[in-house]
């Protein structure tokens, strides 16, 4: 967990009580990271800005639903952001040509191993490495860019049924490796 995780939880709790100052502070601390994720998914500033706005409106409205027992505040907010970005992209446009990285770059973009990489990122990298190549691509394309099964099918020139199977196998394998 990030060292500021408890602080974010506290701010989210106060947001749930209608504390606007706490909500602003939550925004100041997390918007840059969430915007970065939105940009990666959509590849478009205009859609990413839209998604960021909708994400924070949803955070304001649903802050009372957040239960710290179930996980970190940033993860909760990121999930909202991801789904908002995916929906906005679907409705408002498409990713620019060339935004999606080539297959050999995906793992580096997702989990670049550097001297300052945390233990969790290294563990995830190691486990992603262990997946078969196509399931790994499917999982990474889905996670990095919010690709739907249909988009994956086109991008990887593979039937949707096979995509579903790759994603399923990839996730099962990932869980066994990470939990193992």
């Amino acid at each position: 967990m990030q060292d500021s995780s408890f602080e974010l939880q506290r701010l989210l709790g106060r947001t749930a009580r209608g504390d606007r100052a706490a909500f602003k502070e939550l925004y100041d601390r997390t918007a840059a990271k969430l915007f970065g994720v939105a940009l990666r998914i959509t590849g478009r500033r205009d859609i990413a800005e839209d998604a960021l706005q909708e994400c924070f409106i949803a955070v304001w409205q649903r802050a009372a639903d957040y239960d710290p027992v179930r996980g970190g505040a940033m993860g909760w907010m990121t999930t909202i952001l991801r789904h908002t970005a995916i929906d906005r992209l679907r409705r408002l446009g498409s990713r620019p040509e060339g935004h999606v990285a080539s297959a050999d770059q995906l793992l580096t973009i997702a989990a670049d191993e550097r001297a300052d990489s945390g233990a969790e990122l290294r563990a995830l990298r190691r486990c992603l490495d262990e997946l078969e190549e196509r399931p790994r691509q499917a999982v990474l394309l889905a996670y990095l860019y919010g690709m739907t099964r249909e988009e994956l099918a086109v991008h990887l020139a593979t039937p949707v049924g096979t995509i579903k199977s790759w994603v399923r196998r990839g996730l099962e394998r990932l869980k066994r490796c990470l939990d193992g």
């Binding site: 749930a16 009580r17 209608g18 606007r20 602003k24 925004y27 918007a31 840059a32 990271k33 915007f35 970065g36 994720v37 940009l39 990666r40 800005e49 960021l52 706005q53 924070f56 409106i57 304001w60 409205q61 009372a64 239960d67 179930r70 996980g71 970190g72 940033m74 993860g75 909760w76 990121t78 999930t79 991801r82 789904h83 995916i86 929906d87 679907r90 997702a110 989990a111 670049d112 990489s117 945390g118 969790e120 990122l121 995830l124 999982v139 889905a142 996670y143 990095l144 919010g146 739907t148 099964r149 994956l152 579903k164 994603v167 399923r168 996730l171 099962e172 990932l174 869980k175 990470l178």
Partner: protein
């Protein structure tokens, strides 16, 4: 779809987090997550598994316009008004309300006590103790989209316990937060969080950080019906 198969649950949670779930299926799952703590837990676990990827994403500064647009859409916050706080601190008012035999009488007292320039608040609920004495009042300022809950009698404070507010609307109780301990502090809630008219608000005694289970674990000390429109 049967949601009790462990492998299926795991797979749904994983695909929800990864993003490959179609939109309608995702909305169905979100409804399930709201009620099924086990599913919510699985989703949280998958979120944590992938979190390092998002943590490693480069940050980017969003234009100031984004926050301005967010702020514009939030409920309007009125500026602090000295007359308002002065009224709240008036003990005589509270004794009158506590003695009032009915909610209507309590509302009338509030209305009469206010300076004519201030719009009267809407009484959403009055919570009584189990002797029937009005103890807490839930008010909505008509200019806001949120409500405040305030003690109208001195409430015996047990430092080893906290008071937690619950909304009940035909289903399991839903926590609305802990009541503040410091005198003069109020709990402010978004009106949308309250049960609709016909629902019930209740306050239970809980451990200092609130109920560990998500439902009341201690005795219900105060209760009242939700009136009017939140």
């Amino acid at each position: 779809m049967r949601y009790d198969d462990p492998e299926l649950r795991e797979r749904l949670a994983a695909e929800y987090v990864v993003g490959t779930m179609p939109r309608l299926a995702r909305q169905r799952l979100e409804r399930l997550i709201a009620e099924d703590a086990g599913m919510a837990q699985l989703v949280a676990q998958w979120t944590e598994r992938f979190a390092p990827i998002d943590q490693a994403a480069p940050e980017a500064e969003a234009p100031a316009r984004v926050w301005r647009d967010i702020e514009r859409r939030l409920p309007i916050a009125p500026p602090p008004e000295p007359g308002w706080t002065g009224w709240f601190r008036s003990l005589a008012i509270w004794r009158g309300i506590a003695a009032a035999a009915s909610v209507a009488a309590a509302a009338a007292i509030l209305y009469l006590a206010l300076s004519p320039s201030l719009p009267p608040p809407t009484v959403i609920a009055v919570l009584n103790d189990d002797g029937g004495k009005p103890s807490w009042i839930v008010l909505r300022d008509v200019r806001r989209a949120d409500v405040s809950i305030d003690a109208i009698r001195s409430i015996a404070d047990d430092p080893a316990r906290s008071l937690e507010l619950w909304g009940i609307a035909g289903g399991p109780p839903r926590s609305l937060g802990l009541l503040p301990r410091k005198p003069g502090e109020k709990l402010i809630l978004q009106a949308s969080l309250l049960p609709p008219p016909g629902g019930v608000l209740a306050i239970s005694s809980e451990p200092p950080t609130g109920s560990p289970t998500g439902t009341p674990t201690g005795p219900v000390l105060f209760k009242g019906d939700v009136l009017g429109r939140p």
